[in-house]
Structures are given as structure tokens and as C-alpha cells.
């Protein structure tokens, strides 16, 4: 059968599994969620969503089970809700499930159409939303339910001073940069006329007019856009540091003053264009840095928003909702299905099932018995349970992970930026040389004006344009090349770090293996008598093991007879029991076989599924998580370029050993918790290794944040993607090979560019100091050096074409 697109989420599935509608033959849905949202939008006249979505694919609607009434609690109000000047209420939220601009449109539209909502604006870049509503008309819980009804979810976040500052800073830099770019573009146009005039002849008065126009455009660039460089130079000098800001500001100011002198009657040429160019180029680089900082703040807000904000405690039989900080050791906490455990504790009562994927990465729910440890942040996927808190929130696992992430993001070591390091010494040297030149010329010739012109030529010719361009231009070409191959480098600096990496740590589930179970081996014969019963039993559960068995049967047997089972009973964490024709049949793991008191021994390193009939095991399936395509090729490639490869997994030694052997990997670490993984990365770094970590789950987020470069596979958890430095969009391991090749090649060109600009300066500065270069030639040759650097960078992609 052919694949067909889901009418709502646009994901493709086999036609046989799609939900269809009798009276609407053109629509196909992959799940009930998609069908529900489709009809909701259609009924509300919002079906133009499907035109806006274009070719974008979205995830099927999130099915949120937790109750939204906690959004109306007093403690929530005190912490997150603010009152506007008009008397309305306002809350900051992070919206989960946003994939494209159409998702934003839909959320804003649905909220705007909801009675009582004054304003709802969602930021597409960071998925943060600000909702303003009238408390008298609608409760916040209803607003949240509205968002959930269309398949998204919302978490509150506390807008920190850090976030407000980062947003303000970004806006400020954006304005300064935009004005600088605008003025520079105008100056460039005027420059075409000016430089053409040098060859075809231009009257002095005309040239004067051109200079006036350039003066008008360059003045705001120097004093408004360039203000941050003056500030940086001032604080640098105050702390006795000569920085790049000082060179940029002094170079630009001196050139500006000299040009003013020419404009108002002095002899020579004015260089207002150089003033604008210097400031603009360096400012663009600075703006990119500011964006990086803002992204780090947004990531942290996303992580904080995932933390539950209150817990239900039971005191003398009375339930009470309290803020997280108020939970004490010894309190009895109740967790409903779908809710997160708030603090660490031990289970009271018979049994519970918890989804611990946020900690261990394992997608299968974990069964817990009385007295078992419940970890904060894990989700109750079974019935309502109660447990006793053994730690308060501040000492619990979830809080530890959040704090560690916060530290890691704040102190993520900036790589030693070769260019900045170089330009620090370069700046001092050039300023000193210019001063010495001025002194020597004035002392020898006695002509102040000539001495000034020569000194300015030295500064202009040495203006670190080529030096400033060497890294960004090459990085830009490297990054765009990587993007073509489905690799997203979040910041340019990771190209350099990546090129120096000597160790790769790979997570197992989802990175080396597919994360999906497949039948590897069957012990026993699947006879025509057993087949329909086995199929019917595996079809009665959505557990990954049952699904894998069902898939195996469908693939290997044609036309399986459909039969009805009775008394189907789920044995939590073990398997299923049912009746057929007065026989008892059962399918599940070894614990189910023990529970049925069947004497049966089976030794395997794989996940196992036994099928029993009438007190006898008739079939045993061994299931394995298949290897991802290209794993072996990746390991071969990394070995040839002398990069160490280590597999780190939360799985047990047996499984880790088997997977490592199957791909020819010698080095692996097993049974690592998220904190162990992070510590392991830390210890590698302390031993002088440069580490890339590749992972996909929330459990990898902490280890990812500690690595020099973090890579998240595209289908991974939101948090892992937010924290990573490089995102692999197509989920293919070949992309890791590509990132090594691209980053190493780009960095080689960055070094070449730096060498070009240094050689250029070594040759031209002495000529300028000797007075053989007039400022005009100095400015032209400075442009030439920039062109050389840009031209050289263009060669980066040539290898690919070959």
C-alpha cells in the first residue's frame, strides 16, 4: 500500500493505518487527535490554517492528561500573574508544539476569538507567549484548555531580569546595526560615483558635495551605532586592557576627524566611507554574539517552564495544593496520571508505573513496587499514587539537573577566539606604530599636517577589516554549506571548536540504535493454530513490545484469521492474559511466566516476549533495538581521522557490550545516570580532551550542556534540541561525518585568511610608515585585503563540487 499524508499534521503513513470518514472521502488522519483538531478548526472557520501551513509538517496534537485547574490556584496567581495598567491580567507562557508560522497564526487566532482574551502574542523565534485576559470573563485554566484543545500545550515561566535585559540588549544592538547597515549602503552607492570620478575626472566642488553627503551618513554610524565601541574602549582602559574596541573607536574617530579637517578646507581626501565600514562590519559580528546570549536565556526559560510549580500533599486525609518550596521531607504527596512527581521520595501502596524517559532515556514505562524510589521530574503513567517525600525540592533530582544546566549554560567556556586574541596585541602595536610615525615625521619634517596624514594612513591601512572578516566570512560559508547538508550550527564559533575535537561520545538509544524494537529471533514454531491467537493478543495492547510482535506477524504471514478474545487482562509491567475457547493464553516477559507459575527457563541478552497456552510456553521472541543506518561507516570514518569514539548509555553492561561489539567499538560506558554521563564528559575535558557529545533524549541534556560541542538528532526532545550547538535535521549519522569534514575545512580556511591579512599588514604598514601611501591608497588597499579574504573563503565549498 502507498503512503498518504495526514490531512492535519501532513506526516505520511501507510494508507491502511489511516482514519477515514465516510461522508468526507478526501480526508485522512493518522490519529484521533489530528481528526479532532481538524474538525474543530473547520467548525470555527479557521481551515485557512491548511493553506498557510504549506509543505511544513507538524507533530500530531499533544494529548495532555494533566488537569489545568492548577492555573487558577492562588499560589500560581501570586507567582506568575501580573496586572496590567488597564486592570487586566497578564501571564508569560512557553508554548509547546509550535513547528511553523501557521502554528503561531492558529494559536493567536483561536485565542483572539476566545471571549475575554484581550491580547495573545506568540514569539515564533523562542515560542514564548504573552497572554492578556479579563479575569471577570474567563479563567486562565480555560485559556490553557483552549490552547490544549487545538493540540498544543502551555507552561508558565517566570520572566527573569536576565530575560528582560537580554531582550532589551538585543533590540538595542539591532537598532544600532540596522542604522549602520542603512548608512553604509548609502555611502557605498555614493562611493561608486566618487571612485568613478577619480578616473573620469570630477570637479572639486562636486567632490566636496559628495563628501558632505558621506559626512551626513557616517556621523550617526560613528556616534550612535559606534557608541558601544567607545563605551567598551573606556571600560577597557579603566581596567587597563587594550581591546579591539579601542582600536575600532580610535581608528574610526581619527579617520573621522581627519576627514572633517579635509571637508572644511584642509588638503587631501576624506574617508567617511571607511569610518562607516569599520563600525558596520565589527558591529554585525557583535550583534551575532548578542543573539547567542539571548538564545541561552530562552533555553533556560524553556527548561524552567517544564518544572511543575506545585504539589498536592495529603495531611490527615485532607488534600492540599502547596507551592513546590513548601513541600517538606516526610510529606505525603499525591500524583495523578499524567502528572510529574515534584520531589524525590518512596512509593506508598502496592505498585505504580512511571515514565522515566526524562532521566534514563528508556521509552518503556518502569514498574515500581512499594518502597521504590520515585524521582522528581518523572511522569506517572499509571493510576493515582501517593508517596512520601524523602527530599525537599531544592535537593531533588529535577532541581539538581536544572541547577547544573543553568551553571553549564552560564559558564559554557568561550573558545579562545583567535581573532580577538590576535587583535588585542595588534591594536596596541598599530596604535604605537601610528604614534611613533607621527612623532618621527613631525620631528624630522616639522610639518604637522603631513605627519598627521602619514600616521592616519598607518591606522587606515592596518584597519583590522581583513582581520575582522577572516573568521566571519569563512564561518558563514561553512555554516551555509552545512545547512545545505541538513546540519544547523547554532553559532559560528562551534565551527572552530568542532574542528579541534578529538573525542566523540555517542548516546546509545536513538543515536546508535533506532530506538524501535524488532524481532531478532523466534524460538518455537508459529503454527496456523497459534497464529490467530498470538496476533489477537498482540493487537490488544499498544506496548512497544506488543506492537513489534504484531508488526513481525503482519510482515511474515499473509491473511491472518481474525478472532475475538475474551477477558483480556493487562498485567501491569508484565504482559497480557486472555481467554479463547476456554483456553487461557498469555503473552509477556519472564515475570509474567513466573506469575503464571509456569516452569520455564530462557537465557538471553535481548528483550524477550513469551507466548503461553494452557500453562505451557509455546513461543519465545527475542527483540532488539536495530542499529541505525551508517553507524559502522561513521565509526570507520572517525577512526581514520584519529578521533576517539566512546558509547555512553544508561543501559546495563550486557546490552552495552553487545551493541558495542556489534559495531566494532572498544570503548563504552554503561549504567550511567544523566549526572554520571555529565560527570564523565567533565572528566574527559579535565584530561584535556575536546569532546563532542551526540544524543537525543532529555536524559542527555545535561551531558550535552557539558560537552564542548553538543549535537542533537533532529527528532530528539525539545530540551535536547534547545541545548545543542549543532542540530542534525535529517536524523542521519552521515551528517556527523559531514560536520567533521566541513568544520575542519572551514577552520583551515580561517587560518589561511588570518595569515593573508597578517602578511598584508606586515608588507603595507612599513610602506605606509615610510610615507609612500596616501590615505586614499591606504583605504583602497585595505578593501583589496578584504576582497582577498572573501575570495579565499569562497574556495571552501570547492571540494564538494569536485
Amino acid at each position: 500500500m502507498s503512503n498518504i499524508k495526514c490531512t492535519h499534521c501532513q506526516l505520511e503513513f501507510d494508507e491502511s493505518v489511516m482514519i477515514t470518514e465516510e461522508n468526507n472521502p478526501d480526508v485522512y488522519f493518522c490519529c484521533n487527535g489530528c481528526q479532532g483538531v481538524y474538525h474543530l478548526l473547520k467548525d470555527d472557520g479557521l481551515d485557512s490554517f491548511y493553506e498557510k501551513i504549506g509543505n511544513s509538517k507538524i507533530a500530531p496534537p499533544l494529548q495532555v492528561e494533566s488537569d489545568s485547574s492548577s492555573f487558577d490556584m492562588e499560589s500560581f496567581k501570586q507567582r506568575y500573574i501580573k496586572t496590567t495598567t488597564d486592570g487586566f491580567s497578564s501571564v508569560d507562557l512557553v508554548i509547546e508544539g509550535i513547528h511553523c508560522a501557521a502554528c503561531i497564526w492558529l494559536n493567536e487566532k483561536v485565542l483572539a476569538n476566545t471571549e475575554g482574551i484581550v491580547d495573545a502574542s506568540i514569539n515564533f523565534t523562542n515560542n514564548k507567549a504573552k497572554i492578556v485576559w479579563d479575569e471577570d470573563t474567563i479563567a486562565l485554566s480555560k485559556v490553557i484548555d483552549t490552547i490544549r484543545s487545538i493540540g498544543y500545550n502551555a507552561y508558565p515561566y517566570d520572566r527573569t531580569a536576565e530575560d528582560i535585559k537580554a531582550t532589551k540588549n538585543k533590540k538595542d544592538y539591532f537598532m544600532r546595526m540596522a542604522i549602520a547597515v542603512f548608512a553604509s549602503m548609502n555611502i557605498m552607492m555614493i562611493d561608486v560615483a566618487k571612485y568613478a570620478g577619480f578616473f573620469s575626472g570630477m570637479k572639486d566642488e562636486t567632490l566636496h558635495l559628495v563628501h558632505i553627503a558621506e559626512f551626513i551618513f557616517s556621523t550617526p554610524v560613528l556616534f550612535y551605532s559606534g557608541w558601544i565601541f567607545f563605551k567598551g574602549a573606556y571600560y577597557g582602559l579603566k581596567n587597563r586592557i587594550v581591546n579591539m574596541d579601542l582600536l575600532v573607536s580610535s581608528g574610526a574617530t581619527l579617520t573621522y576627524i581627519y576627514s572633517l579637517y579635509v571637508l572644511f578646507g584642509g588638503k587631501g581626501h576624506s574617508y567617511f566611507d571607511s569610518v562607516a565600514m569599520i563600525i558596520t562590519f565589527v558591529l554585525v559580528g557583535k550583534y551575532l554574539e548578542v543573539i547567542g546570549k539571548k538564545n541561552a536565556v530562552d533555553t533556560m526559560d524553556k527548561i524552567r517552564s517544564q518544572v511543575p510549580h506545585e504539589a498536592t500533599i495529603v495531611e490527615e486525609g485532607v488534600k492540599k495544593v502547596v507551592p513546590l518550596d513548601a513541600v517538606k521531607v516526610g510529606d505525603i504527596i499525591e500524583v495523578k496520571r499524567g502528572e510529574k512527581a515534584t520531589v524525590d521520595g518512596v512509593l506508598i501502596g502496592s505498585s505504580a508505573t512511571f515514565d522515566e524517559s526524562s532521566l534514563s532515556g528508556e521509552s518503556l514505562p518502569v514498574e515500581k513496587k512499594e518502597g521504590a524510589t520515585i524521582y522528581s521530574g518523572t511522569i506517572n503513567s499509571g493510576k493515582v499514587i501517593r508517596y512520601t517525600a524523602t527530599k525537599n525540592y531544592a535537593n531533588s533530582t529535577l532541581s539538581n539537573i536544572v541547577n547544573l544546566l543553568e551553571d553549564a549554560l552560564a559558564s559554557k567556556p568561550e573558545i579562545e577566539d583567535t581573532t580577538n586574541e590576535l587583535s588585542k596585541y595588534f591594536s596596541i602595536t598599530i596604535l604605537f606604530l601610528a604614534l611613533a610615525t607621527f612623532g618621527a615625521w613631525y620631528w624630522i619634517g616639522g610639518d604637522f599636517e603631513e605627519a598627521l596624514i602619514v600616521a592616519i594612513s598607518v591606522i587606515v591601512i592596518a584597519c583590522p577589516c581583513a582581520l575582522a572578516l577572516a573568521t566571519p566570512i569563512a564561518s558563514l560559508i561553512g555554516i551555509s554549506w552545512a545547512a545545505e547538508k541538513g546540519l544547523l550550527f547554532k553559532e559560528a564559533k562551534f565551527i572552530e571548536t568542532f574542528s579541534k575535537v578529538d573525542t566523540v561520545v555517542l548516546d546509545k538509544t536513538g543515536t546508535i540504535t533506532e530506538g524501535k524494537l524488532d524481532v531478532k529471533n523466534v524460538t518455537g514454531e508459529i503454527s496456523s493454530e497459534i497464529l490467530p491467537q498470538l496476533y489477537a493478543l498482540s493487537d490488544s495492547s499498544t506496548h512497544p513490545v506488543s506492537l513489534a510482535i504484531k508488526k513481525y506477524l503482519e510482515k511474515n504471514f499473509e491473511s491472518i484469521e481474525t478472532i475475538e478474545l475474551s477477558n483480556i487482562e493487562q498485567v501491569e509491567g508484565k504482559g497480557l492474559k486472555a481467554n479463547y475457547d476456554s483456553k487461557i493464553i498469555a503473552g509477556g516477559n519472564s515475570r509474567l511466566i513466573d506469575e503464571l507459575e509456569i516452569d520455564f527457563e530462557f537465557d538471553t541478552v535481548y528483550t524477550v516476549y513469551h507466548f503461553a497456552m494452557d500453562g505451557r510456553v509455546v513461543l519465545s521472541f527475542e527483540l532488539d533495538d536495530g542499529l541505525k543506518e551508517g553507524v559502522k561507516e561513521l565509526i570507520d570514518y572517525l577512526s581514520t581521522i584519529d578521533v576517539n569514539i566512546i558509547m555512553a548509555t544508561g543501559d546495563n553492561e550486557k546490552v552495552a557490550n553487545r551493541v558495542a561489539n556489534s559495531i566494532g567499538l572498544k570503548d563504552y560506558k554503561s549504567e550511567l545516570s544523566p549526572i554520571d554521563k555529565a560527570n564523565y564528559i567533565k572528566s574527559l575535558k579535565e584530561n584535556g580532551k575536546r569532546v563532542v557529545m551526540v544524543g537525543d533524549g532529555i536524559n542527555d541534556a545535561l551531558a550535552l550542556s557539558y560537552a564542548d560541542v553538543a549535537i542533537a538528532m533532529g527528532s530528539g526532545a525539545d530540551v535536547a534540541l534547545a541545548i545543542s550547538d549543532v542540530v542534525i535535521l535529517n536524523n542521519s549519522l552521515k551528517a556527523i561525518e559531514d560536520s567533521f569534514m566541513i568544520s575542519r575545512r572551514t577552520f583551515k580556511f580561517i587560518k589561511q585568511n588570518l595569515a593573508i591579512s597578517l602578511i598584508y599588514n606586515v608588507i603595507t604598514i612599513p610602506i605606509a610608515m615610510a610615507g609612500y601611501v596616501i590615505p586614499l591608497v591606504a583605504a583602497l588597499s585595505m578593501s583589496l585585503s578584504s576582497l582577498l579574504v572573501v575570495g579565499n573563503s569562497m574556495r571552501i565549498k570547492i571540494k564538494d563540487k569536485n
Binding site: 514569539n123 523565534t125 533590540k171 540596522a178 562636486t206 553627503a213
Partner: protein
Amino acid sequence: MNSVLILELTVGIIVSFTLLGIFIWAAKGGQFDDSKKMMDGLLFDSEEDLQAAYEKEQKVKAMKEKKEQNKKEEV
């Protein structure tokens, strides 16, 4: 010749600074705060969207007036 050039330059500079002023006004109003949304602006620009924006403005105005009235009544 120069008088023509002066006129051209003056007009050019005035026009470009006016455009810059409009840009600054838009940027200060938050139009460029969300870089991704800005790039997809075309999707939100149909006649229907404009109508919706107008209706939303009316709705907010009415809500504010109602709130104001409630406040007065309470006093």
C-alpha cells in the same frame, strides 16, 4: 550642474532619512523583535487577516471601555 546635484543630494538624503525614520518607528513598535515571524509576515497579510486585526482592535476597545465602566460603578 552643481545646483542640480545639490537638489538631488538633498532630496535623496531627506527621502532616505525619512525611510530610516519609518524603519526606526516600526522597530521600536516591536515589528522586528521576532525575526522568524517577520520573515513569514506575508502569510499573515491577507485581506481576511487585516479584517481580523480590525475586529480584534474593536473587541479590545470594547473590553477596555467595559472594564473602565465597571471600575467607575465599583467606586
